[in-house]
């Protein structure tokens, strides 16, 4: 430990200034009031003088003072400064409290953190106190509507269903548009997990301390190849020194479906068929009155219990949490049961020079998936038919459409009874996921400015499940050799590994008032799944097909080198430069590595002398950043080379009397490389009236080049006619404004308002190697009504995800004229050359508005969200607004939409299906959440503190959209699982 003493001496030599007469010595120790850990390099200065020292590595100091010195000022970055009397004392111990305001001022940025005032990139931070309240089962919902530029759209009302997260519109076409999610320094894989609707739902939202969103490339480029769509860093709660604190909360909620697809009532349907139908069609009509949608939905109860204990065992801080969730689906039979356990240990050794952070989160979930096919069937099922037939044994007793002429006795293409679909399918899965990491941070004892940081993390999940449908069920009746039903299983094991290490050199050079912070690191990530293949079996017996291979192990990995340089001068001027080089196994060795640089600068104008005294302006910072990020998610693991795949059991070819499996060569693309997005960001952070009003304004331009884009291949040159290649450019331009206002800030009455608005403009600028005016673009967005029909297109010069439609002609009364469209290219015929790009799925503007108020023991708040300029294809209207849909086949009748009354269409047909008449403005304003809480104070003989809260989620929505819900990710409204309105009541005990 000689080295240490030498260093301390050196430090003292530097810091101690030429001295006055000194006649006594004061020694002491400066610690953190919270956990008692020593504070290193805290300053201890005699009040009114320039005499002072810094504390050493164990927090101690020795200060020579003169007899007239009575008080010392002890200060430390982000801690409340304290004045301590030394009158007559030779030893003092000072515990500093971390400054609550400043706590949030340290922002996690990936491979470290930075003071907010030194931040150069566009980074948003949401901590637990600002989370959306209510019964949220998936973590991302905690920040819905809270952050400018971040759009979170839940994927529907199914238990545990996830969300589509888009940061600044997303940068890709065919590659993934999902942001990278990093939990406690472990970047997650984008691979799904079998048996769970949404991998994030396996994380307990109550364990989360903060979300940090890295929006621009200057911030996210340190994550390189996976950062093009932004990065969300999730930090979980940790233990702290001191007495163990316990928390128990319990919440119960009821979800109700409040809106159904508008279809004809049994009475109206009867009249319709009577007036329009043939004799045969009328003979199919029944006499019951069934509201099929009400038959399949239910009020769903969810209950949740959370327990946590946080404190320290001896000197080791810990936090343990356990939670159970039991959530019913509003679609009958759906259910999710989840147990999550979390443990965090953060011991420190060698005088805190070695810090270890151990995190383990594990969850067990058991789901029963309701057959969502029932939703569409319930919309169209003939309302004059009963749920149950008169024959209690056939098809489980459910009414089904029959056809005496078919080999099964069932009408082949008729929809199956939706209640039967639900009740007769038992699709149950068990999933276990564990995310664990050990984060080691070691400050070199001989060189304290340098830390070595190593992190080893794993994300392991096992999903397995079984699907059983009895042989009597109509959905799979007699599907194989006269035997029906399904008795199948599935299983998947994912294991993702992360190993990384970096060196961090951090130094404040006093005489030039400069802070340097440099990291250099290396990371290795491996993403591996093992997918088991099983036989397809009927309910009780014959095997329909059996797999060629018992399992497959898709795998890819990434090797990365990265470095970052942060420099800040006088707390006013900051500079960041970073670079990352990533190598991916998904590319040919020649294109395998790519480099992602970034650069950013910030100027803290408010710290300048001319503003420092300003009463009006308390924060003013200008930021500029530029960076390049990459994308490689959403492409094949191996297809830079052609491989041969052996065909399945039903894909053999017969020569003579023998059936041979076939070896098929696979499509490949050797030249594939990273998609790159260059982002330029200009931002302004501001705060007025002592930061009562704060906010930020950012404008950005994201240019994606070498788009991973599905392009046609020259015929004869590849085994696949389309392949994802790097062809195309796309631009996202936008502006974001976030505002937070403390309207009232009195001890017993506070009122905070938050507002954010985002404008994003997306445009595809190139899609083919050479411009081709005849190439309309990539069609996608499959719709129902005909096989292979699509409604969306990516075209040059238009927004990604524009609708590609025919232009409807209307009569004098504004009614659409069936199958009459504008001949836009004036060639005398109506064909796909008359389709045009019309509006798009993406909102032009979206905003969030939150309010939180506390008054004495009460608190209340809400979250409002709105989207403007987003359009939706109403697939329900498009398929169900014509009479043909009632009796498309001779075997059965189907219900149609009440919109038929507006169209009176007879036939429908493919062009009518793709009419712009069905593209509807889906702008909306949604009250996501209203909550109210009451702090009841001490209960149980003063041993615990009780808080009661109540909330309504999805309280109301204001929109002109005609369909079920204007907010459907992907812009196609068809068989959408309705988002329920949820009423929740919760109790929270702290003790």
């Amino acid at each position: 430990m000689n080295m240490k003493k030498t260093l301390v001496a050196l430090l003292l030599a530097v810091i101690c200034l030429p001295s006055f007469a000194q006649d006594r010595t004061v020694t002491g120790k400066v610690t953190d009031a919270k956990d008692g850990s020593p504070l290193v390099a805290a300053s201890v200065v005699v009040k009114g003088t320039k005499k002072g020292v810094s504390t050493s590595a164990d927090g101690t100091f020795t200060l020579k003072v003169s007899s007239s010195d009575n008080t010392v000022i002890v200060s430390f970055l982000n801690y409340a400064t304290k004045e301590v009397s030394i009158k007559g004392q030779s030893a003092i111990n000072v515990a500093l409290t971390q400054n609550a305001d400043q706590l949030g001022d340290v922002v996690v940025i990936g491979y470290g953190s930075v003071r907010k005032k030194d931040l150069t990139g566009s980074v948003a931070n949401v901590s637990s106190k600002d989370f959306v309240q209510g019964q949220l089962t998936s973590p991302e919902q905690l920040i819905a509507g809270k952050v400018a530029g971040v759009q979170i759209t839940s994927n529907g009302g199914a238990p545990g269903s996830g969300s589509t997260i888009r940061i600044r519109g997303g940068a890709s076409l065919n590659a993934s548009n999902d942001p990278l999610i990093v939990i406690d320094n472990v970047p997650l894989s984008n691979n799904g997990i079998s048996g769970v609707a949404n991998p994030l739902s396996l994380i307990n939202p109550n364990d989360i301390e903060t979300f940090t969103v890295l929006k621009d490339a200057s911030a996210s480029a340190i994550y390189g190849s996976r950062a093009s769509n932004g990065v969300i860093i999730i930090t979980t709660k940790k233990g702290a020194k001191g007495a163990t604190k316990y928390n128990f909360s319990s919440q119960v909620s009821v979800g109700k479906v409040t809106k159904y697809v508008d279809v004809l009532s049994a009475e109206d349907f009867t009249v319709l068929v009577y007036l329009n139908g043939t004799k045969a069609q009328n003979a199919l009509r029944g006499t019951s009155n069934t509201d099929w949608q009400k038959q399949i939905f239910q009020d769903a109860v969810t209950s949740e219990n959370n327990f946590s204990a946080a404190g320290s065992i001896k000197s080791m801080p810990f936090r343990f949490s356990a939670a159970t969730l039991s959530q019913e689906g509003t679609l009958k039979t759906g259910k999710l049961d989840r147990t999550t356990l979390g443990l965090n240990l953060s011991p420190k050794f060698f005088n805190n020079s070695l810090k270890i952070d151990l995190n383990a989160k594990t969850s067990f979930s058991r789901s029963r998936f309701a057959d969502q096919g029932a939703i569409g069937n319930a919309v169209t099922f003939d309302p004059t038919k009963p749920v149950y037939s008169t024959n209690p044994t056939a098809f489980g007793g459910y009414f089904e459409w029959l056809d005496a002429g078919s080999t099964t006795g069932l009408a082949g293409l008729a929809p199956k009874n939706p209640v039967g679909l639900l009740m007769q399918k038992n699709d149950v899965s068990n999933v276990n996921r564990t995310i664990a990491n050990a984060d080691v941070d070691y400050t070199l004892p001989f060189f304290k400015d340098l830390r070595v940081h190593a992190n080893v993390g794993i994300d392991v999940s096992n999903g397995s499940g079984t699907i059983f449908i009895p042989g009597t069920a109509a959905s799979t009746y007699k599907r194989y050799n006269g035997v029906g039903g399904v008795n199948n299983e599935y299983k998947q094991e994912n294991s993702n590994l992360l190993a990384e290490t970096y060196l961090n050199y951090s130094k404040y050079v006093d005489n030039i008032q400069s802070k340097f912070d440099v990291i250099a690191g290396y990371a290795y990530q491996d993403f591996q799944s093992k997918n088991y293949n099983y036989s397809d079996r009927t309910a009780w017996g014959p095997v329909v097909t059996s797999p060629n291979f018992l399992y497959d192990i898709p795998e890819n990995n990434l090797v990365s080198y990265y470095g970052r340089f942060n420099y800040s001068l006088k707390g006013r001027y900051s500079l960041t430069a970073s670079v990352r080089q990533d190598g991916s196994s998904r590319f040919n060795s020649a294109n395998r590595f790519a480099t992602f640089p970034s650069f950013a600068a910030a100027w803290n104008i408010a710290e300048e002398s001319f503003l420092k005294q300003s009463k009006l302006i308390s924060t003013l910072k200008l930021r500029f950043g530029y960076g390049v990020t990459g994308q490689q998610d959403g492409i094949g693991n191996y297809d830079y080379l052609s491989y041969y795949a052996l065909s399945g059991q039903q894909g053999k070819y017969q020569f003579g009397n023998t059936f041979y499996n076939m070896y098929a060569p696979g499509g490949y693309y050797g030249g594939r490389k990273w998609e790159q997005t260059a982002t330029t960001n200009l931002g302004l952070d501001f705060g007025f009236f002592n930061n009562r009003v704060t906010g930020n304004l950012d404008v950005y331009d994201k240019l994606t080049t070498d788009l991973l884009n599905l392009v046609g291949q020259p015929a004869g040159t590849n085994f696949s006619n389309q392949i994802i290649a790097n062809v195309g450019d796309m631009e996202n331009k936008g502006a974001e404004l976030g505002l937070n206002v403390q309207v009232i800030a009195k001890p017993k009455f506070t009122w905070d308002l938050g507002f954010n608005i985002t404008y994003n403009e997306n445009k595809i600028t190139k899609l083919t190697i050479s411009p081709d005016p005849n190439y309309p673009g990539n069609k996608f967005g499959g719709i129902s009504g005909g096989v292979g029909n699509t409604i969306l297109i990516n075209s040059v010069g238009y927004n990604r995800g524009s609708f590609f439609v025919f232009q409807q002609v209307y009569d004098d009364n504004g009614r659409p004229i069936e199958n009459l469209f504008v001949d836009r290219n004036k060639d005398g015929i109506i064909n796909d050359k008359d389709q045009y790009q019309y509006q798009s799925v993406d909102p032009k503007i979206f905003l969030g508005f939150t309010s939180n108020m506390t008054y004495k023991k009460w608190d209340a708040g809400f979250v409002l969200r709105a989207n403007f300029g987003n359009y939706m294809y109403n697939n329900v209207y498009s398929t169900l607004s014509n009479y043909r849909a009632v009796a498309s086949l001779a075997t059965h009748l189907s219900n149609i939409s009440t919109n038929y009354n507006n169209t009176n269409f007879k036939e429908g047909g493919v062009n009518q299906l793709m009419s712009d008449y069905f593209i509807q403005n889906a702008s909306f304003l949604r009250m996501d959440n209203i909550h109210v809480g009451f702090n009841a104070g001490k209960v149980f003989k003063e041993k615990a503190n009780l808080r009661i809260n109540a909330s309504i989620q999805n309280a109301f929505i204001i929109t002109n959209y005609k369909g079920l819900d204007p907010e459907i990710s992907g812009g196609i409204d068809n068989n959408f699982y309705p988002r329920p309105r949820v009423f929740a009541l919760g109790l929270n005990f702290d003790f």
């Binding site: 004892p445 290490t501 290396y522 894909g651 017969q654 060569p665 001779a890």
Partner: protein, 625 residues
């Protein structure tokens, strides 16, 4: 200090290990898929790869009906060769309409397709898929590669045959492209995979290429009927030669009818014979004991499954009042049926296009008690004798004159003599030929078309098509049945077993007859008539339908009757003075009008898909697209 040095060393080595390793881990291999060197290291591997060259013909993808499509950008169920080819060859003709609204599908019958049509694109790329797989196989099957891998003897000889057959399949697909697209992209096995951009080949040059390839292959493949079932032999090579020669004038501007006679004669002389019962040609077990088929696409309800091919032809043709179990399937898809033009080719007695007489049928059996015009009788060659072909419903009927009740005839006593205002006549329904002798006021009825090839179903709305979207408008086709010749069902009620003949003897007879009529030498009228009569004898069950002479147009009708729905019609109509696009011959909804109208003559060729034009700068679009 020593302690610290130790720590420094430890730290640095820790860092070094993490930094230095792992780069080579970026080379990963798939678990179950393998490289060419592994596939082709045994004779068995060659055969499995060879199976794909054929399988590309039959299947949508490598996993049968369960996804994994070879062709992207279209639903896997639409993407097999024969379904796509059938759409292109049958839907824009009088033989078929489809009621479905899948994007691009109605364009065929309307004849208004564009270069972005997904079905045309998929067909083009399907043909090229088989060509590309064949090119790959041919390269792998080179003698150098085979011997390098240590395969010798009988195995090596087999692989030589495989290679010749792969060349045939490639030639077949180029012939298809030549017929449909005229001047497609062109690439063979000579360039390494993906090493160069295909050039565009003219239609005439492609003709020469296909002809030359076939003549080279002729001696390399097995003798007729000596290869495994489902594989190509010499007769298949000759058949394709005969077919392209018959159409040579369309492709090259020069007739090659003599050659068509030469090669069709070779096939006819190779020992094939007609299957005795025409109605059993398209059955679940048509692969067994079938003397007529020369080359087939093999499907199987258990092992070679897809949603196209004969599964499509069987299911899609069933709908309305048709009972699915009559076709050995679990349900109809209510899609494809035919126009009255095809039905009328079976109406032998109908004089020409025919002017209806003043007599007509009314009654519940024809769904008409007076509201709509009568089902007319047509004059015959005998004055005063009229005939009507009608598909009766179960019910009553009468004969009415001038579409007016003032003069009507019934049959008191059901004695086949007519009385003015007499009793209703009764029928249990079905195809009926009604002969009216107005001279004697007698009538006779005979059930069904005498020609057994007329396999129609009347879905109550009759053969007129008022609404293409309504399956029941127009006659159903009952040619395809997933039922074995002994009446038992195929192996699966959804996936159909029927094999699809690419070449069968009947076509060779008709090629011979047509080539003779078109002035080819080396054949004779007498032989041609005897071949036609073989087909007719089978069709009628006796010689009552036999002919003593025939015209060129008779051949077109005979082809329709014999080969309908087997993928010939568009090519035939073009060859016969472009009845395909011109207004000289129309059918319901040709050109998207009910009566039918001519369309632009350039629609004889399909457009090169925009995808390939965009990807391959060597290509030029066909005119006017």
């Amino acid at each position: 200090m020593k302690n610290n040095l130790y720590k420094v060393g430890l730290t640095l080595s820790f860092v070094a290990i993490l930094f230095g390793s792992c780069v080579k881990k970026l080379d990963l291999l798939p678990t179950n898929d393998i490289t060419a060197d592994v596939v082709y290291n045994s004779a068995d591997g060659y055969k499995k790869a060879f199976a794909k060259v054929y399988g590309a013909f039959a299947l949508g993808g490598n996993n049968g009906a369960n996804g994994g499509g070879d062709i992207q950008g279209i639903d896997g169920g639409f993407s097999d060769f024969f379904r796509l080819y059938w759409n292109a060859q049958e839907l824009p003709t009088d033989e078929a309409v489809v009621s479905w609204g899948d994007a691009g599908l109605p364009d065929f019958h309307k004849m208004n397709w564009s270069a972005n049509n997904q079905f045309i694109k998929a067909l083009y790329y399907r043909s090229f898929y088989q060509i590309t797989v064949a090119n790959d196989f041919i390269r792998q099957a080179s003698e150098a590669n085979v011997s390098k891998r240590g395969i010798t003897g009988a195995d090596a000889d087999n692989i030589k045959k495989f290679k010749a057959e792969a060349r045939f399949l490639r030639a077949y697909q180029y012939a298809v492209l030549m017929d449909l697209f005229g001047s497609p992209a062109f690439i063979t096995d000579s360039a390494a995979m993906g090493s160069q951009l295909p050039t565009q080949i003219s239609r005439a040059a492609l003709f020469s290429y296909v002809e030359k390839e076939l003549k080279e292959i002729e001696t390399l493949v097995a003798a007729p009927k000596t290869n495994e079932y489902g594989r190509v032999d010499q007769a298949a090579v000759w058949s394709l030669l005969a077919r392209i020669y018959l159409n040579a004038k369309v492709y090259t501007g020069t007739d090659k009818n003599t050659e068509a006679i030469t090669y069709s004669s070779k096939v006819i002389g190779a020992g094939y014979s007609l299957l005795p019962d025409y109605t059993k040609i398209m059955r679940a077990d048509n692969n067994i004991n079938n003397p007529e088929f020369i080359f087939t696409i093999n499907y199987d309800g258990k092992f070679t499954t897809n949603w196209g091919g004969t599964t499509f032809l069987t299911h899609a043709a069933v709908g309305g009042n048709m009972s699915a179990s009559d076709y050995g399937i679990d349900g109809g898809w209510g899609g494809i049926r035919t126009t009255k033009n095809l039905v009328n080719t079976f109406w032998y007695d109908r004089p020409g296009a025919g002017t209806p007489s003043k007599y007509g049928l009314v009654g519940s059996a024809v769904n008409n008690w007076g509201a709509t015009p009568d089902v007319p009788f047509y004059p015959t060659s005998v004055s005063g004798v009229y005939v009507a072909y009608v598909n009766f419903l179960s019910g009553d009927w009468k004969i009415r004159v001038n579409n007016d009740w003032s003069e009507n005839y019934g049959d008191n006593g059901a004695n086949l003599s007519l009385e003015s205002g007499g009793d209703n006549m009764k029928t249990t329904g079905g195809y009926t030929k009604v002969v009216l002798n107005a001279n004697t006021l007698t009538y006779s009825t005979s059930f069904g078309f005498p020609d057994q090839r007329a396999q129609f179903f009347n879905n109550t709305n009759g053969m007129e098509i008022n609404d293409i979207g309504d399956f029941k408008d127009g006659y159903g086709i009952t040619k395809f049945k997933n039922i074995k010749s002994d009446g038992s069902n195929g192996s699966d009620a959804t996936q159909v077993d029927i094999d699809m003949p690419i070449f069968r003897l009947a076509e060779m007879y008709l090629i011979y007859a047509e080539a003779v009529k078109r002035g080819g030498t080396g054949g004779s009228d007498a032989n041609a008539i005897s071949y036609i009569n073989k087909l007719r004898t089978r069709a009628f069950g006796n010689n009552s339908g036999n002919v003593t002479s025939y015209s060129l147009n008779d051949i077109l009708d005979e082809r329709a009757r014999e080969l309908y729905w087997e993928g010939f019609r568009r090519t035939d109509l073009i060859r016969f003075d472009d009845k395909f696009t011109t207004s000289t011959y129309v059918w319901p909804w040709k050109g998207d009008v009910k009566a039918g109208k001519g369309v632009e003559s350039w629609r004889k060729l399909y457009p090169i898909p925009t995808d390939d034009l965009t990807a391959n700068p060597n290509l030029k679009q066909n005119p006017n697209y």
